[in-house]
Amino acid sequence: MKALVFIEIQGGEPKEDCLGLLDHLVARGFDVSALLCGSPVSAAAVAMVAGFAPVAVYVADIPERSAQHSQPHAALLETLCREQSFAMVAFATSLLITDIAATLAARLEAGLIWGLTDIALVNGAAQATRASHGDSMRTTTAWRSPVGIALFRPRCFMPGEPSGSVAEVPRVTVEAEIPSSSIDLTVIATEGAAVGSLGAAEIVVSAGRGIGKPENLHLVHDLSNALGGVAGVSLPLVDMGWAPRAMQVGQTGAVISPRLYIACGISGQIQHKLGIERSGLIVAINSDRNAPIMGFCDLGVVGDAVKIVPALTALVRQRA
């Protein structure tokens, strides 16, 4: 099956999970090509992609002002899909990709399935696996439209060692009319987006909405200090301005794998789960027994984090 993987570029380099997706589709027996868009795309980036042995690497120049906009990318992808008759377009999910994939689906009337964790060819047709029902079920799905759009979970696949012969992969420049977006977009750098200390910490204690108010945040700092760990927060607390971005644990913040993770008043929405699921032990303290996090922890404590956390901190300190 002829497939196209969109390689998103971040900081001048192809994103790792896009390369991982390319690598995975090649291994699964798809005839995979890759598309890189940039202003311009560097030869090093093309070589890096070619190393994963795609059938071809398509390269398109997209003006810098359009780099974060979905419309120009969707227009380009539509042209390429129609010209090259791809039966599958695969993406690794991100903020930009969500809009691009949806726009392309509407333009091509192509079925779109998201949240994918795997894909396979069964008798020449693609079948994809997604986690559904808050991750408690595994759903096998397929496409009925001439073009299928597959949206994989972020960081779903990481690339192996590049094995292809870079020189043998043809590089094709895409010529297409690229519309500019009517939206003005300015990127504001935020402090600490790289999140150094969280990523390396062996123990992380995080707070979510269940902590009640910003004044209670010291409770997780106290517990993490007592345990010799680092404190984090879930996305809503950053959005509400209770904590800096540098403290955010989750898909769009720090993706971590500490030896111990303690979630205090965090329900465990999918974007948070993706950030912590590779942790060693997970302890969840939440007042809702049915919260998603109770389905992917080792110890779930159904109760008020505001009461339990300080009592636990006192016990940990006594122990030392």
Binding site: Q10, G11, S70, L95, T98, D99, A102, T103, A105, A106, E109, G111, L112, I113, W114, G115, Q127, A131, S132, H133, M137, R138, T139, T140, T141, A142, W143, R144, G148, L151, S181, S182, I183, L185, T186, V187, A193, L235, D239, T252, R259, I270, Q271, V283, I285, M294, G295, F296, C297, D298, L299, V301, V302, G303, K307, I308, L312, A314, L315, R319
Partner: protein, 258 residues
């Protein structure tokens, strides 16, 4: 100025929407879901910013959803519209976006507003698809919004840094649940809601061919659903007075302090 706020888009869902079943079951269909209340609140605050606008609350789904639309009116919307047609059952995102686009096109509003359930991206996908069909710019995942007479500005968290956005009207925006704290529905609001118009529409009313929606025209299909097994051995305990000690014992047993 006219603002359309979309709530409760529930079509019974095809293969790609298996999660929607869970969500529909999580809240009573007859009341406004928590994330929808944020969208209605955002619409009311936008109206306050420009000093007056008509707010239309729109929903798609079975007639039980009228309760949610009534709640939106009680919060402050001027009128409500529910698209209710058995032919929508089993639509996938493509089909649902056809119905939503046809529904929104009739209103020719200046601003279309929606708040997705934060647990998944299907709402963002549906909204962006619909925007493409209507030829409108779409601003997703806004955590702040300011409306002016001819344009709006918004702010969102991006993969790296934050995005400050500006677009001319008409425009479609998706807000996140952290954008505001919804006001409570008052008894006075409920009384006022009884006198405001509530319209029930079918596919025929919005001039949409039933062949582009529903399970038979869905571009995706479901092959199998199987339960997943957690790789963790999960223990759930009550958070009573003994809980801190039990957590400590658990950590000691798993050699956290070793």
């Amino acid at each position: 100025m006219k603002i359309v706020v979309c709530i409760k888009i529930a079509t019974g869902a095809a293969a790609d929407g298996a999660d929607a079943f869970l969500r529909a079951g999580r809240t009573l269909p007859s009341v406004l879901a928590p994330h929808d209340a944020h969208a209605v609140e955002a619409a009311i605050r936008a109206r306050e910013q420009v000093g007056g606008a008509e707010i239309v609350a729109m929903a798609i789904g079975p007639s039980e959803n009228l309760g949610g639309v009534r709640d939106a009116i009680a919060m402050g919307a001027d009128r409500g519209v529910l698209l209710c047609d058995p032919a929508l059952e089993g639509s996938d995102l493509l089909g649902t976006s056809h119905a939503l686009a046809a529904l929104l096109r009739r209103e020719a509003a200046d601003l279309y507003l929606y708040c997705s359930w934060s647990g998944d991206i299907d709402g963002s996908l549906l909204w962006a698809m619909t925007a493409e069909r209507l030829g409108l710019p779409v601003l997703g995942r806004l955590r702040a919004l300011t409306l002016d007479r001819n344009y709006l500005t918004g702010e969102r968290q991006a993969d790296r840094g934050d995005h400050m956005l500006k677009a001319s009207l008409p425009c479609m925006i998706e807000v996140t649940e952290t954008i505001n704290k919804p006001r409570y529905v008052t008894i006075k609001g409920r009384q006022a809601a009884r006198t405001r118009p509530l319209q029930l529409l079918s596919l025929g009313d919005i001039g949409l061919d039933a062949n582009v929606v529903g399970a038979t025209s869905a571009a995706t299909c479901l092959i199998a659903i199987t339960p997943t097994t957690s790789t963790r051995e999960i223990s759930i305990i009550d958070g009573d007075a003994d809980a801190p000690q039990r957590i400590l014992d658990f950590l000691a047993e798993r050699k956290v302090f070793a």
